[in-house]
Symmetry: D2
Subunit: 132 residues, 4 copies
């Protein structure tokens, strides 16, 4: 097994530490209130929307190499801020995701939610994979 490359990150726990070190090395902690971090995360989520806004659904499956790399960087930005926010709030990302998937499974049982049954379950105009 090759040595881990200098900047390789092998788990969310490692990512949490690296993001924490990054901010602390630059004395950026005072910027990183939960309020500011949720704003920054929304900004990055919107930067992820932007490459897709004029694409059709089909085109959105066929990004060019340049588009794909731009999207990859925005996905990374979202994960970095999510990790930092979760760290400050003492939230374990995988535990939270596991619990939410369990909630979603009860809200959208397979037999009721199959196919386009989203419309059956949700108020008209609203259908959401994971919404409470």
């Amino acid at each position: 097994m090759p040595l881990m490359k200098p900047h390789e990150i092998d788990s969310l726990a490692t990512l949490r530490l690296r993001v924490r070190e990054f901010a602390e090395a630059r004395a950026w902690e005072h910027y990183h209130t939960p309020k500011n971090l949720v704003m920054a995360l929304s900004v990055e989520a919107a930067e992820l929307l932007e490459p897709f806004q004029w694409l059709t659904a089909e085109q959105s499956h066929q990004l060019s190499a340049e588009q794909h790399e731009a999207v990859r960087q925005e996905i990374a930005d979202v994960l970095i801020y999510l990790t930092r926010l979760a760290d400050l709030l003492g939230i374990d990302l995988l535990d939270a995701a596991a619990d939410k998937l369990a909630i979603n499974a009860r809200k959208y049982p397979v037999d009721k939610a199959h196919g386009n049954a989203l419309k059956y379950l949700c108020p008209p105009g609203y259908s959401d994979f994971s919404n409470d």
Copy 2:
């Protein structure tokens, strides 16, 4: 070491599989175009903004138990959609984050970025921890 609880998720790789299974069991794949997924992710990021919008920075550090649980669920929603999007686009979340942190380290070297040096580095009005 205790047995893993039925819905426990121990890594991003496991999360990716669970989210994929969740969608496939319900035949929701046709909803999950990258275009739709980035929209859903932005919706969840904004649901994460909402509890904080009228709070002060200090209040944002002192969420009640109910606020904290609500935020924990929205953080989970963002991670679930991010995982699904990355899965469809063939993007490894930790590799992408590692590469982006390396880019950020070059853009914001510790000696230049320390303290409030964000204002020194960025165009007036814009300062961002991870933006290109």
Copy 3:
């Protein structure tokens, strides 16, 4: 000319006054910092995204009466917050829009921007009607 209905609003100037009165009557001014208002506006913009996230482009043109009313209310929310924010920052909405359209006209001259020329003008992966 019919009498104006009690809550009718005939111009952006009237809307600005009504929104200001609404906030002041409830002593909500301390919540309405520009920072908080841009957050609230983003939350509403995402609530406008939500009804569309699983719809196809075609379906997005054919909203049901219920969907249309929900979208109409979210559009109103965005305008209300935009008006309040502009009021606090001393920005005239129509002047700002006029100036921005003039900038856009120079950035996207008709001869160059016609049809799918957006891709020609913008960096790969990014095309935007109004972005700087």
Copy 4:
């Protein structure tokens, strides 16, 4: 009274026409599905968040001239897309805002909503000026 400057816009009705002409002159109508427009609007709302994300509430009231101009342009972008979206959906912006303020007045009666009574009215963790 001075002649209207060539690009001056005196009402939302005029803005609606100008935005429609701008898009039609460039044959951009096929990009302007409601689905795409709500995405573009969310992108612009997030560009409005960005200048504020690391500012304190106090700093957010004291933008530099450069910051103020950047914010003014983003506010314009949001209004332009909102106008285009409303035009396509046959929604009158001022009527929609008037109706929504009436709904809000019933939801947040002055006697109950005064001061910090937002916390009294809304579920813990959520307080919103205009949300249903």
